[in-house]
């Protein structure tokens, strides 16, 4: 049997191109342009999928990208929406969420036990007894979900682009196209986006049996395409609204983030199903779905169809069915009366019209694959009663439903639009739009075609005026005529199976039960019943759910409100969201050298740093110990170019430092270095570093790698507030730094510079400017990793030259490179705690015994007030240096292992390492103040649960080479 009909004017098919494909093993043909669903329906197949929960047979509902019961897989991709995905040559398709086949799904028995599985049953049923939960979890996990994830799915790049326009029009229906054309004529750049493959919206398929609207659409499209400043995007959806009119547009190719100066939302409305028993059977579909099937794909929805309506739209659907060759068995109107003109026209075609009646239930065919008839009875509109005393049956093979609409308002909600329920049209419509947002057409509560065109003009003029151009501003258009939506299209039935949410198989009784359980707020009811939480996100169920709850609570609809709309409006593949992977990273100018010499790299902030240089086959710890031993016995060299480096120029530079950091800098001599400690306003240690005074009005700061950007940003922020006479220059990338440390460091360096490196001329904590290997350098004498450490700060591009020079002359002195992991061990041996490693987001300076770095007698510094308060409180923890027993051979404690006393946690290890030079395990740990005295012991619990005794010692650890 085929339901394909003659070519329709404006159809989306290319009938010259035949497509061959398979569905569930059955060979089928289609035309180019058919969706999977239209091709299957044309071939006479009605059971196209199974419902998520009860595995009920399902067919077409909307044919508008919301038929989530018809998800198919081609073996590679899954959850393809058959109602909109175009069928292509050679496809081998099958339905997801079935066992066996879609026609004979083994899981369809679940429907027969559905009374045992009401909503919320799993919240209550499976958590006790606890021992059985794994059993239930296994079953639920197997039953849950749609489709099977293909872990071999190819990585297909989906580009994310930024685009810009003056006006973004969402929806290419009659209102949207009209608005776009007018805005473009005013000289504005316009982008129109529509989720459908072709523009036109309902103008393409809502014809009431008359093809005149096709010409009207063509005329509108011609106008739009004649404008060079209009970009029309079809098969793309506006997925969400973000501040300042940023709207992601999703297409098969990727995401385009559109920044618009103004937005016109002309997104139309979703048709809402009336609710009656077995309204989910295959061949019970929305009226607009029937129209799409006819006019887009040239397929007859049914041979003998019945139309259930609660508005005038159903009459138009009936006329379209007649045009397609369907015998319309009857039009059943839940209202007392329908439109006189349409009524006359249908009667003229011999169609019987039952006003004040409803479909009490649909009757399934013997194999439940379709409809064989409908039970009709009188309907008490006022009291929502099906008057079954005189019910009768009409034979039919399909039912088209038209009961009303809900605006496609998601983006309006997300933009913060005030929405009001309008009882004239029984719909939420915008009452207060944000700046630059405009609404037109059905989403704005305007349904008549001529009025929608006018509303498009009005919205465009409003947008043009908003953008500062001259435009005629017109009054808002008000809907006239009967309501397009029924206030309560829900037919009660004692046996239920009257579905509200087709995604999750939710019936009217489920809402009643939820309310009885106390979930009678719309947000709570949503979560308890899961209404609107399926893949279609409530596009066909939320409004009915609100109406049902309003009735249960005997409140007006607007008092119930709506659930929160969030981006993304439509499920979007993860690959789209991921897009191209950007992993911004910084390399020092020595990166290639490190790479060539076998460095293992580590990420520190945005930087790739050489962590250590293992010889072939050498273990990490062995490499680190060997590098550290070189520094202790001869010399080591490290690329420290990733350090943050900041210059402060100007007469107020010292004043700024005194306010920003905890120390004193006004008295600092030119050529001297001082320690920097940065706190936040609550007195927490943020970072530390060194300030080198190069001139009275010039300081050069070197700070930690990871925090450098944040510290510089904070300096700029404070300078904005303080407005001191100075200039801040971030030279992190412009300068590189080389550290050379160890007993031979001085002699190596001395061969490349004329600078007097003697202790007298150049003691620790001093800075000098001199040429090293012919390169102008800032040379800083430090004791971070060794008493004999020189840091050479030179232009980044000249770092390799200086490095090579040092390596060349240092070779005979045993100079070797060491990495950042070795640096951590070396500084630990020296007894230096590191912010971010030995501190956390709550540590104050007193807890790390850094009182010496705090000059409380200054007028002000960041965090000073908090420290004054903290100083009066007893310490709760304190960082202490510790060693493990000599020749310790047990389970090695790790960073973050806990310090335990009895059953209590009294601290944690922050740094720990074995030091070959010292011959012991050394580290830092937080302990309670009563454990801080030299010689105190405490227990560290290792990963395997054993307790290891640690002893508090003095720093530097280098003094602990002998017994502690």
């Amino acid at each position: 049997m085929t339901l394909r009909i003659a070519k329709q004017t404006g159809e989306w098919l290319n009938r010259d191109k035949k497509i061959h494909f398979e569905f569930e093993g059955q060979a089928l043909t289609a035309f180019k342009g058919d969706t999977i669903t239209s091709a299957l329906w044309a071939a006479g197949l009605t059971v196209l999928g199974r419902s998520f929960k009860y595995h009920r047979a399902r067919g077409i509902l909307s044919l508008a990208n919301h038929d989530v019961n018809i998800l198919v897989t081609d073996g590679i991709d899954t959850n393809m929406r058959a109602d909109v995905v175009e069928v292509t040559e050679g496809m081998k398709l099958s339905a997801v969420n079935t066992s066996g086949s879609v026609k004979k799904d083994k899981n369809s028995y679940i429907d027969s036990i559905s009374p045992l599985l009401p909503v919320g049953f799993y919240y209550k049923a499976f958590h006790t007894p606890r021992r059985l939960f794994p059993f239930w979890e296994n079953i639920i996990r197997k039953a849950a979900g749609l489709g099977i994830v293909n872990f071999n799915y190819p990585r297909i790049l989906k580009r994310k682009q930024h685009t810009h326009c003056d006006v973004l029009v969402i929806g290419a229906g009659p209102s949207g196209l009209t608005a776009a054309y007018l805005a473009a004529q005013a000289g504005l750049t316009v982008t129109i986006v529509d989720e459908n493959k072709q523009a036109g919206g309902s103008l393409g398929y809502d014809r009431a049996g008359d093809a005149a609207s096709v010409a009207q659409l063509q005329d509108l499209l011609n106008k739009v395409t004649s404008q060079d400043n209009i970009t029309l995007l079809t098969a793309s959806y506006a997925a969400g609204y973000y501040p300042d009119h940023l709207i992601p547009i999703v297409s098969a190719q990727g995401i385009s983030k559109v920044r618009a100066r103004a937005v016109i939302v002309a997104s139309g409305a979703f048709e809402q199903p009336p609710v009656f028993r077995y309204n989910d059977l295959p061949a019970v579909m929305l009226g607009s779905a029937a129209q799409r099937l006819i006019y887009r794909y040239g397929v007859k929805p049914f041979n003998h169809g019945l139309v259930l309506t609660a508005n005038d739209y159903g009459y138009r659907v009936a006329l379209d069915l007649l045009q397609a060759g369907t015998k319309v068995v009857a039009v059943v109107d839940m209202r007392k009366a329908g439109d006189a003109a349409y009524t006359a026209k249908l009667i003229e075609h011999g169609v019987k019209i039952y006003t004040g009646h409803c479909v009490y239930e649909a009757l399934a065919s013997s194999d439940k694959s379709s409809v064989k008839g409908a039970v009709i009875c009188a309907y008490d509109d006022k009291n929502n009663l099906a008057l079954t005393s005189n019910k009768f049956t009409l034979a039919c093979d399909g039912i088209a439903m038209s009961a009303g609409w809900t605006g496609a308002s998601a983006l309006l909600y997300q933009a913060g639009t005030g929405m009001q329920f309008n009882y004239q049209i029984e719909q939420f419509i915008p009452s207060r739009l944000p700046d630059g947002m405009f609404a037109a057409g059905k989403v704005n509560g305007v349904f008549n075609l001529e009025q929608r065109l006018q509303d498009g003009v009005r919205a465009a003029n409003a947008a043009i005026g908003y953008l500062g151009l001259k435009a005629v501003q017109t009054e808002a258009i008000t809907h006239t005529g009967s309501s397009p939506s029924h206030p309560y299209p829900m037919v009660p039935h004692e046996k239920g199976k009257n579905f509200v949410d087709f995604d999750e198989d939710i019936q009217i009784k489920d809402f009643v039960n939820a309310a009885k359980e106390g979930f009678d707020n719309i947000e709570l009811m949503k979560r308890f019943t899961t209404v609107g939480m399926g893949p279609s996100q409530g596009k066909h169920s939320n409004m009915n759910a609100i109406r049902i709850l309003a009735k249960i609570r005997n409140l007006p609809v607007e008092k119930i409100g709506t659930t929160t709309s969030r981006p993304f409006f439509h499920p979007t593949p993860i690959g789209h969201l991921a897009g191209r992977g950007f992993h911004a990273h910084r390399l020092t100018s020595l990166h290639d050298w490190h790479h060539t010499h076998g460095a293992v790299f580590t990420d520190i902030g945005a930087w790739k740093r050489a962590a250590y240089y293992p010889a072939p086959g050498q273990a990490k710890q062995d490499a680190i110990q060997a590098e550290a031993m070189a520094v202790r016995h001869s010399a080591g060299i490290i690329d420290s170019s990733s350090f943050g480096k900041i210059e402060l120029h100007g007469p107020d530079a010292a004043e700024f430092l005194e306010r920003f950091f905890t120390g004193v800098y006004k008295t600092q001599k030119v050529g001297a270095c001082r320690y920097l400690m940065l706190l936040d306003e609550s007195g927490v240690v943020v970072d530390d570093g060194i300030a080198s005074r190069l001139a009275e009005d010039l300081f050069y700061l070197s700070i930690g790698t990871s925090n450098a950007a944040a510290v510089y940003r904070e300096m700029q922020r404070y300078q904005q507030m303080w407005q001191l006479n100075l200039g801040l220059v971030n030279v992190t990338g412009a300068f590189g730094a080389i550290g050379i440390a160890g007993p031979a460091a001085r002699i190596i360096l001395a061969t490349l510079t004329d600078l007097d490196l003697s202790d007298e001329a150049f003691p620790i904590s001093c800075v000098r400017e001199a040429k090293v290997a012919g390169v102008a350098a800032r040379v800083i004498r430090l004791s971070f990793v060794s008493d004999k450490t020189y840091e050479l700060h030179v232009p980044m591009s000249q770092v390799p030259h200086v490095w090579h020079a040092l390596m060349t002359v240092g070779e005979k002195h045993g100079l070797r490179p060491f990495g950042s992991d070795t640096q951590r061990l070396l500084r630990l041996e020296m007894g230096h705690a590191m912010p971010g490693v030995d501190t956390d987001g709550l540590t104050n300076p007193f807890e790390i015994a850094a009182d010496w770095a705090i000059k409380m007698n200054k007028a002000y510094f960041i965090g000073q007030r908090s420290l004054a308060i903290l100083a009066k409180r007893p310490l709760r923890k304190q960082l202490v240096p510790f060693v493990l027993a000599q020749n310790f051979a047990g389970e090695m404690p790790m960073d973050c292992n806990l310090v335990i006393e009895g059953q209590d946690i009294i601290g944690r290890v922050t740094s720990i390492s074995y030091s070959q030079f010292i011959g012991r395990c050394i580290g830092f740990a937080y302990v309670t103040p009563d454990k801080t005295a030299l010689g105190s012991t405490f227990s560290i619990r290792t990963d395997n649960g054993s307790l290891v005794t640690a002893t508090v010692v003095a720093t530097p650890f280098l003094n602990n080479q002998k017994d502690a």
Binding site: H164, R259, R586, H591, A734, L752, V775, Q798, H804, T808
Partner: protein, 232 residues
């Protein structure tokens, strides 16, 4: 010592040769190198015809070797004027001064200069080591690029959130923005009659930026173009 031998033969302590900050990312390609302005830089990748074609579609060229000079401070504008450097009247705009040097005004009191082919202002300013109140030299180590071709906006639209089209970015405007997630400076310029985009970022991001630009350029039918295509 194993693994850390120094190549003494090729190293001359008196000869300082710098390497372009993007070089790390280019080393995997077939690259012809040259020393330009004391910096080793890629002057060619493929044959001239291929590179000319790429230039028209979407070419990415590393011009980090051009000399640059940065200065900021309340008196910076006056100081430049004293050195007879013509400066743009407004912030976020650029001009080409008589010395064939691009002068970008990044803020009311911050400037970035770049010598173009045959330009000399940066070298002239760098020779002045005097310090003056309220004039702060800004050390620069930028990675700098020329982006050319008909698909260049397509590339930029993927990397930058702001509108860089001709309609939005005027011919004398400079924007400081984020490109591929990092801070960058962008302007439109005409070089030898061809409209191009210029892009600068911190040199330590140079290899990353080159890789990102090139990946997209290749996808869009373009590719790497050597400096030689602009040298003449």
């Amino acid at each position: 010592m194993q693994g850390f031998d120094v190549n003494k033969q090729g190293f001359d302590v008196n000869k300082i040769v710098q390497v372009s900050p993007t070089a790390h990312a280019q080393s995997a390609e077939i690259t012809q190198w040259q020393i330009v302005n004391d910096m080793k830089i890629a002057v060619g990748f493929e044959g001239a015809d291929i590179e000319k074609y790429r230039k028209k579609v979407l070419g990415v060229t590393d011009v980090s070797c051009l000399a640059r000079y940065g200065v900021k401070g309340p008196q910076a504008a006056q100081w430049l004027a004293d050195h007879e450097i013509a400066i743009p009247a407004n912030s976020n705009s650029w001009t080409m001064c008589d010395q064939k040097t691009l002068v970008m005004r990044l803020g009311s009191s911050e400037f970035l200069l770049e010598d173009q082919w045959g330009g000399g202002a940066c070298k002239q300013l760098a020779a002045d080591s005097s310090r003056q109140a309220n004039v702060y030299k800004v050390a620069r180590a930028d990675a700098a690029f020329i982006l050319s071709g008909s698909a260049v906006l397509n590339l930029l639209s993927e990397l930058c959130a702001i509108d860089l089209s001709e309609q939005s970015l005027s011919s004398k405007e400079v924007v400081m923005t984020q490109v591929a997630g990092i801070s960058a400076t962008v302007l439109r310029q005409t070089i030898a009659g061809e409209p191009v985009y210029r892009l600068w970022c911190d040199g330590t991001y140079g290899a990353y930026m080159w890789q990102v630009l090139l990946d997209i350029a290749v996808e869009l039918g373009g590719g790497a173009v050597g400096l030689a295509q602009y040298q003449n």
